[in-house]
């Protein structure tokens, strides 16, 4: 099994299947990050999130594509979207 390191901040759980609650504002990555910070991050939030966005060194893939190609924080989430966070801070 692949373990990247980022799951250390999430109680060691690698994969999270989440159903986001209905809300009037659309769900974009920006709001998703806020939601993750409130509900999933168990410790040391500054190691994952910096201000509005992810900490430098954390890659975000949306359906296997670099989020920079999808609009980064402004990408609107679709049903069944797969978002992967990869930490590049732990070397090899």
């Amino acid at each position: 099994p692949k373990r990247g390191g980022a799951e250390l901040l999430f109680d060691g759980v690698k994969k999270h299947q989440v159903t986001l609650p209905c809300q009037p504002e659309p769900w974009d990555i920006r709001n998703l990050l806020k939601w993750i910070k409130q509900n999933l991050l168990k410790e040391r939030p500054e190691l994952f999130i910096q201000g509005d966005t992810v900490r430098p060194g954390i890659l975000v893939l949306i359906n296997d594509a670099d989020w920079e190609l999808m609009g980064e924080l402004d990408y609107k989430l679709q049903d069944q979207d797969n978002v992967v966070f990869i930490s590049t801070l732990h070397g090899g």
Partner: protein, 458 residues
């Protein structure tokens, strides 16, 4: 990358240093791919893998280490290459010859690189009828060796004595790192010890090359970190493609052109397995060590200016090692720990001299009667005999070791409180060099000087 540098000859034994992290795992996968390709660009060397278990230093329990080892072994066995599992505790049993540069055994000097490759291809074609190719056969031989190899010491220990020795070594390791004051020095010491262990395995198992999985990003961080640590003199060797400071074993860094991001994508898309192990600085505070500060700085800058890392890297590429400018008679003195040429000649007006002078001026003399409290060295009745003291017999040992180190390693040792906890091979090599220097001084006047002495030296 390898072809361009023409560093690895066909049939050479190459040791891959696998840490379980993304870059070295990616390197392993690419070696596997390269060896199995049928094209003219196929890789042609004979690989082995080494994995060093550093769990004791990083605060992992035996159970956690065992679990990590199990995961690593799955990957190692799946690769089909012969592998070596080493525990960092084994540094205490290293010979002091590790700290000596061995003469270079050129792999294929008789032929040029091109001839060597052609010769290898011809040989392969001759063997192609039915029998497996040369590398495959040798790998099969190694696999049978591996299955008879000792199981790593942590599991399945046969005798209570072996288990006791392992526990003692772990204790020694924890004590050594416990006596290092700063995280920066700990990281440097860990890297040094790890490199010695890998070198030892390469020498005993007859590997002439070691491949490290340093990515472009990693090397950019390393470049700036080393500058901050006072290791500017050895930058070219520390971050270049090939590093030949040890003489017989050459360290190469084939992943140095891939950024961490590219490697992460590659691993994700091709399903490369990695094993995560907490490191010394996992979850550490931002400014806990120089490495962390530089890493944060670079990554932060990279987010806004995506050419940062590659710019640092390209600047580093321009550094090159100067070939030794004297004959064998004037072999430069090398640092005890990192084996780089010593950069600590204190000349008038040099920056180093300025630092030493201000250090002496600002140091307070320790009082002769120290406050109550045991020294760290067993057998010293009062604190005077302990290596912690800056006066007395302990101070001599410290001054002796410091004089054998380059500036960067001196900083690491200065942060180490108890020198006695350093592994034996370091201390005995320091002793040996001290005796040689003393002896040389004694017989100096009887030595015949070479004609080719540079002017200005007495």
């Amino acid at each position: 990358m390898l072809g361009k540098n023409r560093a690895i000859y066909p049939g050479e034994k190459v040791l891959l240093a696998l840490s379980g992290g993304p870059a070295s795992s990616s390197m392993l996968r690419q070696v596997q791919e390269g060896l199995s390709r049928e094209t003219a660009k196929k890789l042609r060397f004979i690989p082995g893998i080494i994995y060093v278990d550093e769990g004791a230093v990083c605060g992992q329990s035996l159970a956690e280490r065992g679990e990590t080892l199990l995961q690593m072994e799955t990957i190692l066995q799946a690769s089909g290459f012969p592998y070596h599992l080493a525990h960092l505790e084994e540094v205490f049993d290293l010979p002091s010859s590790i700290l000596q540069r061995a003469p270079h055994n050129p792999a294929g000097p008789k032929n040029s690189y091109k001839e060597a490759v052609e010769g290898f291809i011809h040989q392969q074609r001759r063997e192609e009828d039915g029998s497996p190719s040369l590398p495959e056969r040798q790998i099969q031989e190694k696999l049978t060796e591996v299955s008879l190899r000792d199981v790593p010491r942590m599991e399945g220990l046969a005798t209570p004595e072996a288990r006791l020795l392992a526990a003692v070594r772990t204790e020694q390791l924890i004590q050594l790192f416990g006596s290092v004051k700063t995280l920066t020095a700990k990281e440097e010491l860990l890297q040094t010890l790890r490199n010695h262990l890998i070198l030892h395995t390469a020498r005993t198992q007859e590997y002439s090359k070691v491949m490290m999985g340093d990515s472009c990003t990693r090397l950019a961080v390393k470049l700036l970190t080393n500058l901050s640590l006072g290791r500017g003199a050895s930058l070219a060797m520390d971050t270049g493609f090939s590093d030949d400071r040890h003489g017989d074993v050459v360290v190469v860094r084939p992943m140095r052109e891939y950024s961490a991001k590219e490697i992460a994508f590659y691993n994700h898309l091709f399903g490369v397995p990695t094993v995560f192990t907490p490191a010394l600085d996992t979850k550490a505070l931002e400014k806990a060590s120089i490495h962390r500060v530089i890493e944060r700085f670079l990554y932060g800058l990279q987010a806004e200016f995506p050419s940062t890392v590659s710019t640092v890297y390209r600047t580093g590429e321009k550094l090159s090692t100067t070939p030794g400018d004297a004959g064998p008679a004037a072999e430069p003195e090398r640092c005890l720990l990192c084996l780089c040429a010593l950069d600590t000649n204190v000349e008038d007006g040099s920056a180093l001299q300025a630092i030493l002078v201000s250090e002496q001026l600002s140091q307070q003399k320790l009082p002769a009667a120290s406050p109550a409290g045991r020294g760290c060295c067993p057998g010293a009745e009062e604190k005077r005999g302990c290596c912690m003291n800056t006066t007395g017999p302990g101070a001599d040992a410290r001054a002796n070791i410091l004089s054998l180190l380059c500036y960067g390693c001196r900083l690491t040792i200065k942060d180490t409180i108890c020198l006695e906890s350093l592994p034996l091979y370091v201390r005995s090599e320091a002793e040996r060099r001290k005796h040689r220097a003393a002896m040389k001084l004694e017989i100096q006047e009887f030595l015949l000087e070479d004609e080719a002495v540079t002017p200005g030296e007495s």
